[in-house]
Amino acid sequence: MEAGAVGARRRPLARPEVVLHGPRRRQRGWLSWLTTTDHKRIGILYLFATFLFFILGGVEALIMRLQLAHANNTLVTPETYNGLVTMHGTTMVFLFVVPVLAGFGNYLVPLMIGARDMAFPKLNALSFWLLLFGGIVFYASIFFTPPEAGWTMYTPLSEDAMYGSGGVDAWIFLIHLTGLSSIIGAINFIATIHNMRARGMSWGRMPLFIWSILVYSYLLVAALPSVAAAVTMLLTDRHFGTGFFNPANGGDPLLWQHLFWFFGHPEVYIMILPVFGMISEILPVFARKPIFGYKAIAASTVAIAFLGMLVWAHHMFATPTPTVVLAFFMLSSFTIAVPTGIKIFNWLATLWRGQIVMKTPLYFAAALPALFTIGGISGVMLAVFPVDWYLTDTYFVVAHLHFVLFGGSVFGLFGGLYYWFPKMTGRMMSEALGKTSFWLMFVGFLATFLVQHSAGLSGMPRRIYDYDSSLGVQTYNLISTIGAFILAAGVLVTVINVLWSIKAGRKAGNDPWQGNTLEWFTTSPPPPNNFDVVPRIRSLEPMKDIRREVAAAAMPAETSPQPLAPRSL
């Protein structure tokens, strides 16, 4: 039987594959984390580092909320406030959401497609270390002069005439280092997904999370060069006398905005599509149903990515731009609502007539369509460019982007964390703490960001360190600040849950959720080589097939379905 299995892999149909000579040894000790090329350990490094940056960015947000808690507050100086605005935005985008997805992708892609590692393990390690050093270079600036021009770093404000000291340069290096990290990582994902899928895993049997990581990777490769070019031009403007963005030297500040948003809007989809992929994995497992409309969800992912490259100037509706251009970008932005709506309806249909198991991952996964819908609706409102002339650069936009980025990405990510934590550590997280965390985050989130729509409608611009009490936004801001602290408490409960569960969580077993995808086939945590034998894939849900076969054979093997976790720990 054993020999037969090996023989099967050597048949002419088999794809060329690097076969390890002897089992890989489990690495031990702190130093091994520095030298590891194991995708799972790199994935954990990613997750650990990016969650640290998430905490940093969150603390920055809390300081800003404290400053805005009441009118004419003097907690921080205007300079510090602008520094916080810039650090918070940059951290959350470049050091948290994008790389945390690379972290989940690193951990899960080889496991879900039945591969033993990424295509280029050493490049994979390089990706992580570039990211970490990008973050360190950026955060080092707080000991000198942090950048203050906002995460969008609009010229001419970011030029040396306004901010001559090193903060903006630190930001430029962050963009280069994290950008390089992302491009290398993306190429690695593309090579891995195209070439290393298990036998039988055709495009139509590829998990939706893998689809989304593939599309995420292509988007990164397509979008990042634009911002890399832009920041290089900014660097030469600042230090070598060029005038790309300086009208006095024949340049144009709007060129920066086009180059930045040509990257910046695809970046939005880079940050959300893999999370859409995650909950497309989570919802069917907990609804005990197949995903509804697999092809529609996969196709809409590709459609969103394509259209996402064509909408960048909707960030620039208030700039001097011809109306026909504005109209084009309004219509292109509208069209994205269609594939996004398709996804949301398909998720609802996945839950419809299911047998929904109410575990923490499902709570977070189900919150995503709820909150993202609000962000999507405000997104369509913002796409109507005459309406955007009123709403742009106000707190309405702040609310909108947090509904899609926090309500969308972060809630989905937390769902992913609760869902895959047992696989990564071999232990379950506490359901009680998980649900407490969810409700705190959900209520805190709505309290923080719903009222910001109203603040914006009342005339409160974004990125202001202070406002007049006569503006009538005092109550909104106080509610928002209180909400932010409830939200932070919710995040803290999850941090405690993670720390407690690593040590004391109940043993998870291979397949605690009755998952659909291949990662649940191996042990928790998986061995260094992931799989001793990779099963042939016959459907979208290989684990369902395996459980069925096992049940049919009535064979108490390692792959037997585990009972669901009890209701409480």
């Binding site: 069209t335 309806f345 839950l351 409608l457």
Partner: protein, 287 residues
């Protein structure tokens, strides 16, 4: 079940805050308006998208909450192994597209009124004496009477307003004075970094970008005299939050009186400057 109760209560709170309170607190959920007709049009357009949005919101949240309550494990038989439904997929794709086509059509219907400045009204500046009547027309020219053009220049952290095309020099800082029932076209520039002009009650923002001239307009209806407040809406440096703008709308006759006084003041200040320079030159304080 307490969890279910909590969920229902939460949904009720959200619904109540979004819809129940809407008529009572209209301005909480809609833009400011009333200072200019384009602001009113934007308000209408916004409300239209909001109503469509509320319907979609209720649909999604309703179905989601229904599913989470109704289809809990153990309550009923088995999970229905449905993999998809093509007519349903096609239906909601076309449905979503149809809503957006309607929204686009309505936007284009309103666009002309929002974007293109109308003629000044009968009680506007044109009805008064003719010193402003020859002011340059915006492009494309509007059908009616003359409009007042003001050049707005954003600087850290103040706005400068120049009234060109009039005899003598007329400008002011921070507070712009305009006549009511008169179409005011603003030509926006910036001399250092990007600023954004915004008076919420007048509707649109317009970015003032160095090296570009942007344009927007407003027309304060007769009888709506008063001070309209706004502030810079594009991060422009540490004191971005302190960069305020005031527009004082007055009757055309008052505007002319203000312009006369202001022009005289500016002239006097210029003469004073010349005198004091000569005096200081004499005293040896300057070269």
């Amino acid at each position: 079940m307490p969890r279910r109760l909590l969920l229902t209560a939460l949904a009720a709170v959200v619904f109540a805050s979004l819809i129940g309170a809407a008529p009572a607190l209209a301005d909480t959920f809609t833009p400011q308006s009333g200072g200019s007709s384009n602001a009113n049009d934007i308000d209408t357009l916004y409300k239209l998208t909001l109503y469509i949005g509320i319907v979609i919101f209720l649909l999604v949240w309703g179905v989601l909450i229904w599913c989470l309550v109704k289809y809990r494990a153990g309550r009923r038989g088995v999970a229905h192994q449905i993999r998809g439904n093509t007519p349903l997929e096609v239906g909601w794709t076309l449905g979503a597209a149809a809503i957006l086509v309607v929204l686009a059509a309505v936007t284009f219907i309103y666009l002309d009124d929002i974007e293109n400045p109308p003629a000044s009204g009968p009680n506007g500046l044109q009805a008064a004496a003719g010193q402003f009547a020859t002011i340059d027309q915006p492009t494309p020219p509007t059908s009616g009477g003359p409009v007042l053009t003001i050049h707005v220049n954003g600087q850290q952290y103040i706005w400068r307003y120049d009234y060109p095309g009039t005899p003598g020099t007329l400008f002011s800082y921070a507070e712009m004075v305009v006549p009511t029932d008169t179409t005011v076209v603003l030509k926006l520039e910036a001399s250092d970094v990007i600023h954004s002009w915004w008076i919420p009650k007048f509707g649109p923002k317009a970015d003032a970008v160095p090296g570009h001239v942007n344009e927007t307009w407003f027309k304060v209806p007769a009888g709506k005299e008063g001070v309209y407040r706004g502030q810079c809406a594009e991060l422009c440096g540490p004191n971005h939050a302190d960069m305020r703008a005031w527009v004082r709308a007055v009757k055309p006759s008052e505007f002319e009186a203000w312009a006369r006084t202001k022009r005289a003041d500016i002239k006097a200040a210029g003469e004073e400057l010349g005198k004091s320079r000569k005096a200081r030159l004499k005293a040896g304080e300057v070269d």
